[in-house]
């Protein structure tokens, strides 16, 4: 096994994250393994936001005074950093939203209302997060379109064997996750993107998990849209991103209306601003964009390729150790064979009880359906317990997880 320490200086990284250094109760230090739900924030990000409020804050755009100019520069600078981070062709292709969820809704509604006709088809996958299902279901219902799902294999991979059938007929949009927040599966989307484009469909990629864990290049991927959230990638809550190819964004009608997204308003109607501002109505999440820019700087400095490699090693170690723990009513882990990402699951006892007992030992995991009910139904489960890792987690923390699982088993050993 690779020495993980050569990949990342995790001890130094941990020093950047104040929240990690606490005890959940006296003598029981925190082990934070709920990263797929949201990541923690380094001091560099927390301070970037505070400093911005302490020195430069004002409303952006149009303001002819020092603070407003500084704020505008910081806000638009964060847009440029974000564009570079995912290798967008231009910063004009980056729309700031609240979260990945809003990014999906923006496209589903603005693009969908203008483009979907009765009988048209939207193709999703069975492993999507609700954020990449429900907005499409709603617009499909409104427009009389049909929703189809790429099935998931028993191994937790996309089953592309029936792709020809799925893509037959008037398919207009294929929306798929880049990395499952439940299985950890990383979907190599290139084939799907090509097939979708071949039949004239657009491709919407849910990058909420992938962008935080691995290098993502939208141009190489040839995604038409990509959605992700700042809070899962060391950034503040309250900021998300929609990447869209410029000509597609330009052709779309606006989503929310109000100040800053217009060129002109009369009592009769309005003219829209250029992209991306056309999609940013009202005062945006200014300080949060600045914080996201700081998160992008942070992750870039560490290196996304190193983060991904490190997490793979850590995950390998966790899966290995989990095999030691005798299963309860099921296996502790559902390892995914290929392209696995940063999560794992424990079966057996009720996930709520496992999570509660792990918390008793300081280990923070998530129990539930992880906003992926259809995927759980696919595996005949209602809930799972998920431990998910990030750049600041260590092998010692994996050991703490394993110990805590033994403890949980002992409590329920009747």
């Amino acid at each position: 096994m690779t020495s993980v320490e050569t990949l990342l200086n995790v001890e130094a990284i941990r020093q950047d994250f104040p929240v990690l250094h606490q005890e959940v109760k006296p003598g029981v230090p925190l082990v934070y393994l709920d990263n797929a739900a949201s990541s923690q924030k380094p001091t560099q990000v927390i301070e970037a936001v505070s400093e911005f409020y302490r020195k430069h804050y004002a409303n952006v755009h149009r303001g002819i005074h020092k603070l407003s100019e500084e704020s505008t520069e910081a806000y638009e600078g964060a847009r440029a950093k974000t564009a570079t981070f995912i290798n967008a062709a231009s910063r004009r292709e980056i729309v700031f939203t609240r979260n990945a969820t809003e990014s999906v809704n923006l496209v589903a509604q603005a693009w969908g209302r203008a483009n979907l006709m009765p009988g048209d088809v939207i193709v999703l996958t069975e492993m999507e997060h609700h954020a990449n299902i429900v907005p499409w279901q709603l617009i499909a219902k409104e427009r009389g379109a049909e929703v189809r799902y790429v099935p998931v294999t028993d191994d937790g991979l996309l089953d592309l064997s029936g792709l020809d059938t799925l893509l037959s007929g008037p398919v207009k949009m294929v929306a798929a996750t880049h990395m499952s927040n439940v299985l950890g599966t990383v979907n190599a989307l290139e084939g799907l993107v090509q097939a979708a484009h071949d039949v004239g469909a657009l491709v919407f990629v849910d990058g909420a998990q992938s962008v935080s864990h691995k290098p993502v290049d939208v141009q190489a991927l040839d995604a038409d849209f990509l959605a992700f959230s700042g809070h899962k990638m060391c950034g503040p809550s309250g900021i998300g991103v929609l990447y869209g190819k410029r000509e597609l964004l330009e052709a779309m009608p606006p989503f929310l209306a109000g100040g800053d997204m217009i060129k002109r308003v009369t009592l009769e109607g309005a003219e829209w601003n250029d992209v991306p501002w056309k999609f940013e109505a009202g005062t945006p999440a200014i300080a949060q964009a600045v914080g996201l820019g700081a998160a992008v700087d942070y992750l870039t400095r560490v290196g996304m390729d190193r983060i991904y490699a490190y997490e793979q090693v850590l995950l390998g170690y966790a899966l290995e150790r989990l095999e030691e723990v005798p299963g309860g009513a099921g296996a502790w882990a559902r390892p995914v064979q290929e392209g696995r990402g940063g999560g794992l699951h424990a079966g057996g006892m009720h996930p709520h009880d496992i999570a509660e007992l792990l918390n008793d030992r300081g280990v923070a995991v998530r129990a539930g359906h992880h906003c992926a009910m259809p995927l759980h139904q696919r595996f005949n489960l209602v809930a799972t317990t998920r431990a998910s890792f990030y750049l600041y987690n260590t092998r010692e923390e994996v050991d703490r997880l394993i110990e805590a699982l033994y403890y949980a088993k002992s409590v329920f050993a009747f």
Binding site: H350, P351, H352, D353, E356, L357, D360, G368, H369, M373, V382, A383, V411, F412, F414
Partner: protein, 130 residues
């Protein structure tokens, strides 16, 4: 271990009044989709509208199952009117451990089903502070 004191584990392991009663006067089932908890409660009353038999089945976490088991025991012998007065606090007292806001829904599922089944009341008891 303080989260799961003996009594709760005991009720979870040996659920009292397990199995549905025949010819029930109250028969109601519901689930909490968020957790996947499911509960089916049946109650038979005598002529004085007093509970003579409680039977239930369900699945879910230790908290939801133990609370159903404890509530079922407490119901026997009570009048319909007395049933109405079972409160959130009664359940929390029976469980005897601190319940976090997230798990309140687990703890109160049985009470919710009792109220909905017996009185057609909807909404979570104590939902304002969930």
């Amino acid at each position: 271990m303080d989260m799961y004191r003996e009594l709760i584990l005991d009720h979870y392991q040996n659920r009292r009044n397990w199995g549905l009663v025949e010819d029930p006067d109250i028969d109601y089932e519901e689930d909490n989709p968020l957790c996947g908890d499911h509960l089916h409660l049946t109650v038979r009353l005598d002529d004085a509208r007093r509970v003579v038999a409680v039977g239930w089945e369900g699945e879910g976490c230790a908290i939801s199952q133990a609370s159903a088991s404890m509530l079922g025991e407490a119901m026997v012998g009570k009048t319909l009117d007395e049933l109405k007065h079972f409160s959130k606090d009664d359940i929390l007292e029976m469980l005897g451990i601190p319940i976090s806001p997230v798990r309140l829904k687990c703890a109160l599922l049985s009470l919710k089903i009792l109220k909905a089944g017996a009185y057609g009341l909807t909404g979570w008891p104590g939902e304002e502070d969930e």
